[in-house]
Structure formats: structure tokens, C-alpha cells
């Protein structure tokens, strides 16, 4: 098979599955629906592997599939850019998607929307692949919006739940705010470069580095303007402060998609995009600085929120926000390869954590409150072990995958000299403690300690209207079926090992080749080497070295204090909560962002729109101008009607008056 056919096969296989099951799911039945979609996603995964091998052999592809539109002298293409960065994303996306497809068989077992769900996640896989494989901004935007659509459909999958359909509308609109910036960025790119093809834009970027952006009233550097506009898109999609508000609410969707879309792949689209645009971002230190500070705020402050959540999925969601912040910080520090590295390790261990959380949720009959779990490790050994692996990877335990990526981010920020890097360094280091604390708080509350699952108040159950109509609400929890645990095991393997394997090639042996561009004076590896007089490029040395560093001991401290507070002295957290009521309230209200947005933006828009309508359209235009004109004509004709009275003496009298007036007026001249 020609390589180009293989490239096409990767996104089109899941699309075919989505269409087949979406249109004919009813006739296909449940079993065939999941067989078809899983088989086709597997095809996509193995095709991606083949492409990976081909790229490793040095074959980069950049070509178009068809011309989408021509306008003016610009031709908009649909095409693929297959390089190291793309193929890494392709592997991550198709692998996690395959795991999630399999897992869904177990998780959605009794849901009436079974086929619809499979159709959606296959459609998502297609959209995400189109996004990462694009060789131009137009197609990037297509994928960008298409994943947003599927995310919208999946958050609102249980469309009869009021909270779900609130959350999906919110997610879509907040993302659209980001997309507003993104689209303007793209339009600016087209205007400056006259094309939307990556290769042409990147090749000419440097020649526009010192231009002034054509924005009347603002004298910004061109690249700064473009990069910040594009990054606003990333802030929406990758849930960066202050557009992060949609991600926690997106947990209303079924757990498999929280793993696939809202942890492993879609939310990392922004990170991928910035890495892809590295030739542009490298030209604006202002933009990089902006990126870094936004990432740092997200990394630290969203982590704090994870500490007080009691919903198992929301803890993981805030941890995702925080980790996305880490990746963004890495981007800001020009450590794009590190960001993608963390993106990859995070995709595995965070998908694992979500799916494990889903497994726990199944066992708990869809109660998601970690206060009513505990001691599950003996009932669910596979879920327990895999969760532990995921958590250890997340907090950056040496030798686990998350360690290599997170440690590299911290190192990169340390040597950055951009404005804001000091704060960013503090944020990512402090974040290590926070991450360790909330991760193990959750871990201990779920798997260790007293068994509290019988204490759950029944109104707390989501079960009233959900997918699994379990009959046996009592009895011991038990391990979930193999379709659920198999993906956990398969994700646990890379969560442990992928960092060790990929660390050296990705960060130090130029794995990404020309896919990522870093200006010489921004290269953290070089700078770190100059400072340390050696480059730590072997995973073993790196891990050994870590035992003596601050982040490691912060992580240990985080785990230890979580153990102390939640295993040893479970009475203390309540005391702290009372003592620091103010801080607790602030965190519990998520820094009041949701309230403010609801009041100011949503309420403001509704109020303004009602005012504009009732006053502008109804009163002013229709009332005053349109019907007013009609009335005026009516009044006028009503008035002059009296002149035509039909009486001779009225007319005669008018004539006499007229003659007098005329004579008088004549005398004036």
C-alpha cells in the first residue's frame, strides 16, 4: 500500500465506523456496533504504528489531499503533514482511543445510547486525527471545532440531565470564546503570509518578526499579536486560566470520554498546536512569557482546587487542569519537546486514572463521592494496583513516566530567563507538593482506610437517572469485568515505562527533528548543560540525581501529609476546614469564577439582549419609526381631510384669505 493511502486510512477508518454505527446502529445491534468501531480504531492504531516506523526511517510527508476552496489568489487545501510530532500524537490518540473503545463495552453496557456513544467516540477519533495531521491552519481549525462538537455532544450525552446540558452548552461557548481569538489569529496569518500552509508560513516567519501588527489603535509586534491570538484558542481548548471553567463541569459526561477527550487528547490540542507553531512562538518572547505565566497560574491554582473536591472525577479533572498548566509552562519556556513529552506520559497515566475512577464508580453503583468509599483495595485488586501506578506516575515518582516529563519541565523553567519565569518556577515546584497531596488524598480515601461505602446517603446517588440500572445496590463491591480492567492494565504499562524509554530520544537525541523549532538562545538543554557542566541525558542518571532534589522531597512530603491527614488522623482536615473557613469557601467556590461568569457574562448577555430587543427593535424601530410613520401619515391625512369639507363658503373663505396673504407677501419684495 502506498504511504499516502495509509495516511488516509488512519483518520478515515474511525470515520467509517462512526458513520456506519451512527446511521445503522439500530440494525447493527450492540455487539456489531462495538465490534465494527473497535476493529476500525484498531486498524487506525496499527496504521499509525506503520506510519511511525516509516517516519523513524526518515520519511516526512507534506502534501495535500484535495483543494477545499479557492478564493482570491489563495487556495485552501486539505492535506497532511506527517512528521515526528504528528506521528507521536497519532499514536497517543489512536492507542488511548482504542483502550477507551474497549472499556466502553463494560462501562456503557446497559445504556440505551450504546451505539450512539460508540459512534461519537469514533467520530471524535477522526476529528482529533484530522487536527493533528493537518498541514495547514484551515484544517487545523476544522479539527479544532470538530473535536469541540463531539465534546459538546458527549458532555451532554445524557441529555435529560439538566446539569449535563448546562455543562455542554457552557463548554461549547467558553471554547468559542477561545476560538474567536484563534480564528482571528488564523486570519492574521493569512493576511500576513498570503497562505495558510504551515511550511510556507514557517519558512517566512522570520522575515516578519519585526513587523508591526496591522491592528489600528494597537502597536504590537506582529508575531506577538499572532501568537497571543492563537494561544487564546489554546486557552479555551486546553482549559487554561481564565477559560478553564468548562473542564470541571465537563465531568457530567460518561467517564470513558472524560478519559479520552477531557484528559488524554482533546484538551491537549492546545499544547500540540503551540508546539506545532514553535517557529512562530520562538519569534516573540512576549508571547512566550504570556504563555508561561498563564500556564503557571493554571498549574498551581487549579491544583489547590483539587484538594477540596470530593467527587472522584472532579479531583482527577482538577489534576488534569493543573497538568495542562505544566505543559503550558513548558511551552512558555520554549521546551516544546518537553511539553509534548509530558503530554504523552500524561495521556497514558491520566487516561488510566480516569478509567480506574470509572471502574471504581461502576463498583460503587455510580456514587462518585470519595467520602463514601474507602478500603476498596481488597475488593478491586486490579483497579487498585493500576490506580496506584497512575498516581505514582502523576506525582513524578522516579522511574515512572510522569517523573521524567515533569522533572524536565521544572528543569527547563529553572533556566528560563523570560519575564515571569521566576513565578512559573515557584508555581511548578510548589505544584509538586499540591499534586502529591491531592492525588494521594484521593487514593487513600478510595482504596485504604475504613470502608464507608454503606454510609452514602441515597439522595447523593447519581444512580437515579443514569446508565446502569443496577438491581443489587447492596453487597460487597467487586472487581469490574475484563473489558474494563484490560485497558487499565494496558495503560498502566506505558504509565510506568514510556518515560524511561522516550526520555533520551525525545529530549536529547533530536527525535522531533525539524518538527519543532527552538531558537538557539532559548534552548534549555544547552543552557542547562552550560550551568551543570554536563547534560543529564540518561534516564537512569536522571532518576538517581532526582533523589537529592527539592521536587522529590516535596512529593514525598505531599504523600506523607496526605497519609497523615486521611489515614492516621481523619479528624484533622475537618478542623483545618473550620479554622480556615475563608480559604475553604474561596476554594469551594472555585475562586468565584463560575458565579462571576454566570452573573456577568451569561446574565449580562441575556439582560443586554432583552434590553436591545424591547427597546431597540420593538420600541424604537418598530414602534417609533415604522408604526410611527404610519401613524404620522394617518394623522396628517386626518388633519388635511378637514380642509376638504365640501362647503362652498369654506372654499370661498380660504380663497379670500389666500389672496390677502399673497398680496401681503408681494409687498415684502
Amino acid at each position: 500500500m502506498d504511504m499516502k493511502d495509509l495516511y488516509l486510512l488512519v483518520p478515515l477508518a474511525p470515520l467509517a465506523g462512526a458513520i456506519a454505527v451512527g446511521l445503522f446502529g439500530k440494525w447493527l445491534g450492540r455487539a456489531w456496533s462495538h465490534r465494527i468501531t473497535i476493529a476500525l480504531v484498531a486498524v487506525s492504531f496499527f496504521a499509525s504504528l506503520a506510519v511511525f516506523n516509516d517516519v523513524q526511517a526518515g520519511n516526512i510527508f507534506n502534501g495535500s489531499v484535495y483543494t477545499w476552496l479557492t478564493s482570491g489568489d489563495t487556495s485552501f487545501q486539505v492535506g497532511f503533514l506527517i512528521d515526528q510530532l504528528t506521528v507521536t500524537m497519532m499514536l497517543v490518540v489512536t492507542f488511548v482511543s482504542l483502550m477507551v473503545h474497549i472499556y466502553t463495552i463494560g462501562y456503557m453496557q446497559e445504556d440505551p445510547g450504546y451505539q450512539r456513544f460508540f459512534s461519537y467516540i469514533s467520530l471524535f477519533t477522526f476529528s482529533m486525527l484530522m487536527l493533528v495531521m493537518a498541514n495547514n491552519f484551515m484544517q487545523l481549525f476544522f479539527g479544532w471545532e470538530a473535536v469541540g462538537l463531539v465534546s459538546y455532544l458527549l458532555i451532554g450525552f445524557w441529555y435529560d440531565r439538566e446539569t449535563a446540558i448546562y455543562a455542554n452548552l457552557k463548554a461549547f461557548l467558553v471554547n468559542r470564546v477561545g476560538d474567536l481569538g484563534f480564528l482571528l489569529g488564523i486570519a492574521l496569518v493569512l493576511m500576513v503570509f498570503g497562505t495558510l500552509q504551515y511550511d510556507a508560513v514557517f519558512a517566512n516567519a522570520a522575515s516578519h518578526a519585526n513587523d508591526i501588527a496591522p491592528i489600528p489603535g494597537v502597536s504590537w509586534n506582529m508575531m506577538t499579536a499572532i501568537c497571543i491570538l492563537l494561544f487564546i484558542g489554546a486557552m479555551g481548548k486546553s482549559a487554561q486560566f481564565p477559560l478553564h471553567v468548562w473542564l470541571p463541569d465537563s465531568m457530567e459526561g460518561p467517564t470513558p470520554i472524560s478519559a479520552l477527550i477531557h484528559a488524554a487528547t482533546m484538551v491537549t490540542a492546545g499544547i500540540f498546536m503551540v508546539a506545532r507553531m514553535s517557529p512562530l512562538f520562538e519569534l516573540s518572547e512576549t508571547a512566550l512569557s504570556f504563555v508561561m505565566v498563564i500556564g503557571a497560574i493554571t498549574a498551581l491554582f487549579m491544583g489547590f482546587l483539587g484538594i477540596i473536591q470530593n467527587d472522584i472525577k472532579r479531583v482527577v479533572a482538577y489534576s488534569t487542569l493543573s497538568q495542562l498548566g505544566y505543559m503550558t509552562v513548558a511551552l512558555g519556556a520554549s521546551a516544546y519537546s518537553v511539553a509534548i513529552f509530558h503530554l504523552m506520559t500524561h495521556a497514558f497515566f491520566k487516561a488510566l486514572l480516569f478509567l480506574a475512577a470509572g471502574s471504581v464508580i461502576i463498583a460503587m453503583h455510580h456514587n462518585q463521592d470519595i467520602r463514601y468509599m474507602g478500603g476498596l483495595k481488597k475488593y478491586m485488586p486490579i483497579t487498585w494496583i493500576t490506580s496506584l501506578i497512575g498516581s505514582l506516575a502523576l506525582i513524578g515518582t522516579p522511574f515512572f513516566s510522569g517523573f521524567y516529563s515533569k522533572e524536565s519541565i521544572i528543569e527547563a523553567v529553572k533556566f528560563s530567563d523570560l519575564p515571569g519565569s521566576g513565578f512559573a518556577y515557584f508555581a511548578v515546584v510548589a505544584g509538586v507538593f499540591v499534586t502529591a497531596f491531592y492525588s494521594f488524598r484521593m487514593y487513600f480515601l478510595v482504596f485504604h482506610g475504613k470502608e464507608r461505602y454503606d454510609e452514602a446517603p441515597h439522595d447523593k446517588h447519581h444512580a437515579a437517572h443514569d446508565d446502569h440500572g443496577h438491581d443489587e445496590h447492596h453487597g460487597k463491591p467487586h472487581e469490574t469485568p475484563w473489558v474494563v480492567t484490560l485497558p487499565l492494565i494496558l495503560l498502566a504499562i506505558p504509565s510506568i515505562g514510556i518515560g524511561y524509554i522516550a526520555f533520551e530520544p525525545m529530549l536529547h537525541r533530536g527525535y522531533f527533528g525539524d518538527a519543532i523549532f527552538v531558537a538557539a538562545n532559548h534552548s534549555m538543554v544547552t543552557i542547562a548543560g552550560l550551568v551543570h557542566h554536563e547534560i543529564i541525558d540518561h534516564p537512569l542518571t536522571m532518576a538517581m540525581h532526582a533523589f537529592g532534589t527539592l521536587p522529590f522531597w516535596l512529593a514525598v512530603a505531599g504523600v506523607a501529609s496526605a497519609a497523615f491527614f486521611y489515614l492516621k488522623r481523619p479528624d484533622i482536615p475537618a478542623l483545618i476546614q473550620k479554622k480556615f473557613q475563608f480559604i475553604y469557601t474561596l476554594l469551594d467556590n472555585k475562586y468565584y469564577f463560575d458565579r462571576f461568569n454566570d452573573w456577568f457574562f451569561a446574565g449580562g448577555a441575556r439582560g443586554t439582549s432583552r434590553l436591545l430587543w424591547t427597546f431597540g427593535d420593538v420600541k424604537l424601530i418598530d414602534g417609533l419609526m415604522v408604526n410611527g410613520t404610519a401613524k404620522l401619515v394617518g394623522m396628517f391625512s386626518g388633519a388635511i381631510r378637514h380642509i376638504q369639507s365640501g362647503y362652498i363658503y369654506h372654499y370661498a373663505f380660504s380663497m379670500i384669505i389666500g389672496v390677502f396673504v399673497l398680496l401681503t407677501v408681494r409687498d415684502w419684495f
Partner: protein
């Protein structure tokens, strides 16, 4: 040539002849016959327009399929027809929608079936005439004739407040066109006794006269588009019109206004157009932003879709008056896409109205539970209305925004707010109508789409997706004419 007959004339007169045939079936006893005849006429009417597309020469901006005959030689008025890259697609669009509205009214219309069907057929022919006329008086005749069937459709088959809406519609649009007639007569004198629109394009006109002509045309065309602030007839007309009427109104009739700007205002008075472009852009952006917000406040589904139409048409006028290729082609693409999408949305509202006899959003909720197939189609069209890439709704908006960026960053910014507002009003409505738990016993009793409705929805879904995924065939055909128009307007016509 079709069977030795000129294509455009066939496209115009065939539906009109079928309309008269349908009328002759008489009263409602023969309603089935009237329906079938109307369907045959509508489908034939669409088929005969296809040679216009397949036989179209892409490399020229000259008028094609030209027909030229003397009509009233005393005033040098001709029966002069022809198409170029700007008008050809609208003829196809018009003919495409006639079978759809016939099918949409198939069993829904029970009274005066023959007259109803005939109105649409005749209107179809007349609207094709508007897009094909190259003689100003012929254009004017078609232009005014178009109003009559629509006036009847709203006034006879409309809702409760139909007379108010029909009269408002008629007066609004008639007042606008009278000024246009004055301008046409001035141009007749100025051009030395020709009513040919193509001759008008070449006439040198002093600035003051250009401005006055622009204003005269503005009232005729802006009312039709409709542009802010002469838009308030549209929501009323839509709300009262039967579904088919709304579809044609939104899909085709609004386009003649924008078409008028492209065929008359811009090429005949280019200097005035440039002079007043700022005002036009401002009005367009007000339409996008202000009307977008007003749409958010609507509690009536049809009114909401109507306001959404106005907001989307803002992109069309914006695209025209930023005078670059992206803008102009984007405007044309947006007009076509808006035809599909707004037509589809009015049909969706019609599907619900036929079942519940309410357009009120608050009367619905949880329709997805009882009408899942409908919900899926409605979702697609709602997303197209929100400008999602991959649907036709994106193509025009995207291209116009690119053009606006070329003109001024802040134009592009204001236009882009539709990403947020458009999604907000469309999806918020969708959420309240379709999502949620079943709201009441009426919703619980809803039945999903019938085969007839599925066919209509499927046709439009395929078009919306097709144009979204592969818009090239739509844009290629217009290149030569748009480029020519842009070159033409770049030259001053001051004497």
C-alpha cells in the same frame, strides 16, 4: 438549449406554466392532482436549470446563455436574459428549493391546495427572472411581481396576525422599490436611452448623482436583505408565514437584495459605493452583533431563526462592501449556505409546529426523547447555523472574516463575535427545545419524522455537509465574474 428552447426562458416559464396548470385544477376536491402536478413542475423546473451549471464556462466573466429580444421598442426595453458567475448559483438555488417547499406543504396545507402550490411555482419562475434579467425594466417587473405570491402566501395561509405581517411586508418592500424605479429612469436618460443593466455599468455619473442613486438602490435592496435598521418586517413576516413561505423568504428572497447590491449599486455607482462603504460596513456589523444579541432574547423559535437570518446576512453585506476577493466570494458563498441552513432551520421549526401548533420555546423541552431522528437533523442544522467547520455555514463566514481582516482588524473582530453569539442563541434554543427531560404531555406524545420529512431533511443535510466539506465547486464558478467586478469597481466612473 433544451429541446431547441433557450435554457433561461425555460427555467423561468416552465414553473410559471405549471403554476397556471395547477391553478386550473380548481378547488380542493382535486388537491391530490394539484400536489402531483406541482411536484412534477417543481422537479422539472429544477432539472432544466442543471444545464446552466454543466454548460457554464468558468473562464469568462461575460454573460452566458444570453437571450435578447425586443420587448417595448418605444422605450428601448428588451427581453434580455443571461447569467454570469454571480447569478448562476442563485438560479439553481431557487429551483432547488421549489420541490422542497412543495414537499414540505404536501399534506400540511389542506385548504386551497392548488393556489398554494401554484403560488410557489409562479414565485419560483419570477425569482429566477430576477436573477437572470439584464434589462432594468424586465428586472423591475420580476422584482415587483415576486412580491405578489409571497404577499398571498403570508396573507392567506399565514398565522393569526397574518394580515398585519403581509401588509407590513408589502409596504416596506414596495416603498423601497419605488425609489429604485426613479434611479433606473435617471440611468436610462443618462445612458442615452438604454435600459440594459450592462450599459448602466459603463455610464459615467457625477458624484452627487452617484450618491443619490446609491441611496435609492439602498432602500430597495437593504429592505430585502434586510439590513439594520430596516429589518423589522422580516421577523413578523416569518412568524406569520407558513413553513414553505418562510423557507423561500429566507433561502431565496433575502438573496435578491444582496444580489441587487452586486448587480446594481456596486458596479453602477462604484465611487459612491466606496464613499459610503464605511456606513454599509457599520450597518453590517451592527446586524451581526446587535441582531445576534437580539436573537438571544427571543422566546419564539421562528423569530429567533429570523433574527439569526438577519445576523447572518450581515456577513453578506459586510463581505460585499470590504471590496476584496475574499469578502465578495465569501458573501456569495454565505448567501448560498444561508439558503440551505436557514431553509433547513425553518423546516425544522415547521416540523415541530405541525405537531404542537406552537412556536414558543417554553412549550417544548426534551424533544430528543421522543423524536431522536429529528433531533439529530436539527443538531446538524443548528451547528451549521453556528458556523461549524465541515458544514456550509462555516465556508462563507470564514472567507468573509478573512476578507474583513484584510480590510481592518476590528471589522474581523466584530464579525467574529458571531462565533460566540451565533452559537449562544442557536444552541441555547436547541438546549431548551430538544434536550432535557420530557417537559409535558404534548412532548411525550410527539412522533418522530415521517418518511416525507426524512427525505426533505436528508436532502438538506447532504447539501449542508457537502458544501461544507467540498465548497470548491461553488467558489470556482464565481471566480471570473467576481474578479471582473472587483476590477470594475476599482475604476472611478466620475465623468
Amino acid at each position: 438549449m433544451i429541446f431547441g428552447l433557450p435554457v433561461i426562458s425555460v427555467a423561468i416559464w416552465l414553473p410559471i406554466i405549471f403554476g397556471i396548470l395547477v391553478l386550473s385544477t380548481g378547488d380542493d376536491k382535486n388537491a391530490p392532482l394539484a400536489r402531483i402536478l406541482a411536484m412534477i413542475g417543481a422537479v422539472l423546473g429544477f432539472l432544466v436549470t442543471i444545464p446552466l451549471y454543466t454548460g457554464f464556462a468558468y473562464d469568462t466573466s461575460q454573460m452566458q446563455f444570453v437571450e435578447l429580444h425586443d420587448w417595448i421598442s418605444r422605450f428601448n426595453i428588451h427581453y434580455h436574459l443571461g447569467v454570469d458567475g454571480i447569478s448562476v448559483l442563485f438560479i439553481l438555488l431557487t429551483a432547488f428549493f421549489t420541490p422542497i417547499v412543495v414537499l414540505a406543504g404536501w399534506l400540511v396545507i389542506e385548504k386551497r391546495v392548488a393556489q398554494y402550490m401554484a403560488s410557489f411555482l409562479i414565485m419560483s419562475g419570477v425569482m429566477i427572472g430576477v436573477f437572470a434579467a439584464l434589462d432594468a425594466i424586465l428586472f423591475y417587473v420580476f422584482w415587483e411581481a415576486m412580491l405578489i405570491p409571497m404577499f398571498l402566501i403570508i396573507g392567506i395561509w399565514g398565522g393569526q396576525n397574518r394580515v398585519y405581517a403581509a401588509v407590513k411586508f408589502f409596504l416596506y418592500t414596495l416603498l423601497g422599490s419605488l425609489l429604485m424605479l426613479v434611479a433606473l429612469i435617471y440611468l436610462y436618460n443618462r445612458s442615452g436611452g438604454s435600459f440594459s443593466i450592462l450599459d448602466f455599468h459603463q455610464v459615467a455619473i457625477p458624484m452627487t448623482a452617484q450618491i443619490l442613486i446609491f441611496i435609492a438602490f439602498f432602500f430597495a435592496f437593504a429592505v430585502k436583505v434586510p439590513m439594520f435598521p430596516v429589518h423589522t418586517w422580516l421577523p413578523d413576516a416569518h412568524v406569520e408565514a407558513p413553513t414553505g413561505g418562510s423557507v423561500i423568504l429566507a433561502a431565496i428572497m433575502l438573496k435578491v437584495g444582496a444580489y441587487g447590491f452586486l448587480r446594481f449599486s456596486v458596479p453602477i455607482v462604484p465611487d459612491a459605493s466606496h464613499q459610503l462603504a464605511g456606513v454599509m460596513i457599520a450597518l453590517s456589523l451592527i446586524a451581526v452583533v446587535y441582531i445576534g444579541l437580539v436573537a438571544l432574547a427571543q422566546s419564539d423559535m421562528k423569530k429567533l431563526v429570523a433574527y439569526s437570518s438577519i445576523s447572518h446576512m450581515g456577513f453578506v453585506t459586510l463581505g460585499i462592501f470590504i471590496f476584496n476577493a475574499y469578502g465578495m466570494e465569501g458573501a456569495l458563498l454565505q448567501m448560498i449556505s444561508h439558503g440551505f441552513v436557514s431553509g433547513a432551520l425553518f423546516l425544522c421549526v415547521g416540523v415541530l409546529y405541525d405537531r404542537m401548533h406552537s412556536r414558543n420555546i417554553a412549550d417544548y423541552g426534551g424533544v430528543a426523547n421522543t423524536m431522536p431522528v429529528f433531533a439529530a437533523f436539527f443538531m446538524l442544522f443548528a451547528m451549521a447555523n453556528s458556523g461549524l467547520p465541515g458544514t456550509s455555514g462555516f465556508v462563507g463566514e470564514f472567507t468573509v472574516i478573512l476578507g474583513a481582516m484584510k480590510a481592518n482588524f476590528w471589522y474581523a473582530f466584530a464579525a467574529s463575535t458571531t462565533l460566540v453569539f451565533g452559537a449562544a442563541y442557536t444552541l441555547w434554543m436547541y438546549k431548551r427545545v430538544i434536550f432535557g427531560a420530557v417537559a409535558n404531555s404534548h412532548v411525550a406524545e410527539l412522533t418522530d419524522l415521517t418518511l416525507r420529512e426524512k427525505v426533505i431533511m436528508a436532502i438538506l443535510a447532504v447539501t449542508v455537509l457537502g458544501m461544507g466539506l467540498y465548497p470548491l465547486p461553488f467558489s470556482e464558478i464565481m471566480h471570473a465574474s467576481v474578479n471582473d467586478l472587483l476590477v470594475h469597481v476599482a475604476h472611478s466612473k466620475l465623468p
